[in-house]
Symmetry: C2
Subunit: 222 residues, 2 copies
C-alpha cells in the first residue's frame, strides 16, 4: 500500500496530499515525528524531512520535488503539470514560486516560528521573522488575484499543481488565522474555488492537538 509520511501543518506535505487526491491515488497517511529523528525514518530519508512517499512496490520518494515529478511521470492520467512545453514551464514556475519563495517569505516565518519552533523546540518565536512574514503575505495575495483575474486558474485554463501549491501554502497560514482575507477579495474568490474541491476536504478536517483552527478555516463560504 502507498504510504505518505507527513506532519499536519507542513505545506509541502499538504501539496502531496492534494496531488494524490486529485489524481485519485489511494494512500495511507502516517504522522512522522521528524523532531525525534527516528533511526528507521532516517534510513528512509537521510535528510530527516517530510514528505516521504513509499510506493506499493517499495520505491521511496523523498521531498516535494522528487515526489511530484515521480507521480506525474508514473500516473499521467489527469495531468496536473501541463502538457505542452509552455504550460509545463508556467506551472513549474508557479509551483516553485509558492513552494519555495512563498514558503521562505511567508510560511516558514509564520508557521515555523509560531507553531513548529514553539511546540517542538520549546523556544520563543522570533518576532522579527513573524513581522516579516505578515508583511510579505500581502503582495503574494495580490499576485494570486492578478493571475486569477487574467486566467481561469493560476497557471492558465486548467486547474493544475500551481493552484495546489498556492492553496496548500495558504491553507497552513489560514490554519493559524494569519491570512488577511479582508481587502484581498480576488485571492479569496480563487481560494474558495480550490477549497470547495473534494480533494481539499481532508485538509480542512485537519486538527492539531492544542491548536484549534479559527472558525472560518473549514467554512467553504468563509
Amino acid at each position: 500500500v502507498r504510504t505518505l509520511r507527513h506532519i499536519g501543518l507542513s505545506s509541502h506535505c499538504r501539496i502531496v496530499r492534494l496531488l494524490l487526491a486529485e489524481k485519485q491515488l489511494e494512500f495511507e497517511l502516517m504522522v512522522e515525528p521528524v523532531w525525534e529523528r527516528r533511526r528507521e525514518f532516517l534510513v528512509l530519508n537521510p535528510a530527516g524531512e517530510v514528505p516521504v512517499l513509499t510506493e506499493s512496490d517499495g520505491l521511496v520518494l523523498c521531498g516535494l520535488y522528487p515526489i511530484v515529478e515521480h507521480i506525474e511521470e508514473s500516473y499521467p492520467e489527469l495531468p496536473l503539470l501541463g502538457q505542452s512545453k509552455p504550460e509545463r514551464a508556467e506551472i513549474r514556475r508557479l509551483v516553485d514560486w509558492f513552494a519555495r519563495k512563498f514558503e521562505r517569505e511567508v510560511t516558514s516565518p509564520l508557521v515555523g516560528e509560531k507553531l513548529l519552533k514553539r511546540f517542538l523546540e520549546r523556544q520563543p518565536p522570533d518576532t522579527g521573522a513573524i513581522r516579516a512574514g505578515l508583511a510579505n503575505i500581502g503582495y503574494h495575495l495580490d499576485y494570486i488575484a492578478w493571475l486569477s483575474e487574467r486566467r481561469r486558474w493560476l497557471a492558465g485554463d486548467k486547474f493544475s499543481l500551481a493552484d495546489i501549491a498556492a492553496a496548500a501554502e495558504l491553507s497552513a497560514i489560514d490554519y493559524i488565522g494569519d491570512v488577511p482575507w479582508d481587502g484581498h477579495q480576488g485571492a479569496k474568490d480563487w481560494y474558495v474555488r480550490v477549497k470547495s474541491r473534494p480533494s481539499f476536504r481532508p485538509i480542512l478536517a485537519d486538527h492539531i492537538p492544542g491548536v484549534p483552527p479559527p472558525k472560518h478555516y473549514a467554512n467553504l463560504d468563509f
Copy 2:
C-alpha cells in the same frame, strides 16, 4: 539563440551552466544585475531571480527546477536525470539535497552573507549565519565521501545531475575559500573528478571583480 541570465557566484546558475555544457547545448551568458530590479527583467521573471533561460524559440524558463526539468524533457540525449524510476528518484533526491538543503544550510549563509549582502546591499555580514554555515559544511562533505565510497558517482554508476548540483554548490563556497578540504579526502577526490570535466572549465575561469578566488580554486590537482 539560447540565453541564460545569471550571476557568477549563484550556485543555481552554476548548476544550469554545467547542465547545458554537459548536454552540449550552446548558450549565451548574460549577467543580470538582479539587485537593480530592471523592469525588462521583471517582465521575464516576476520573482526577480536568476537563473532565467530563454530558449531560441522564445520560451522562458524561470528558476532552477523548471529549467532542469525542461532541459531533460526537451533534450533526452545524454540523460542526466536517470532513466529508470529508482534512478530518477535517487538523482532528484540528491539534487534536492544539494540545491535546497545544502544551499540553505551552507551556501546561502556563506556566499550570501560574505559576498552578496556585503557587496550588493552594503550591509555588514551576519557573523552568526557565517558560523552556522561553516559548522554545517562538514557533515555535507562527509555525506559526499560516504556516497562516493559506495558508488562510482553520487547517485549511482553514472555521472548525473546529482554530481552537478553538489559540485556547483561546493564550487561557489570554494571560490571564497571556505571549503575545509583538509580532513575531507573522500569529498576532495570526488570533486577533483568533477572539476576535471570539460563542462567545468568556464566555472573555474569565473572571476568576480574585486574578489579574486584562492589559488587552488582553478587548480585541477589542488
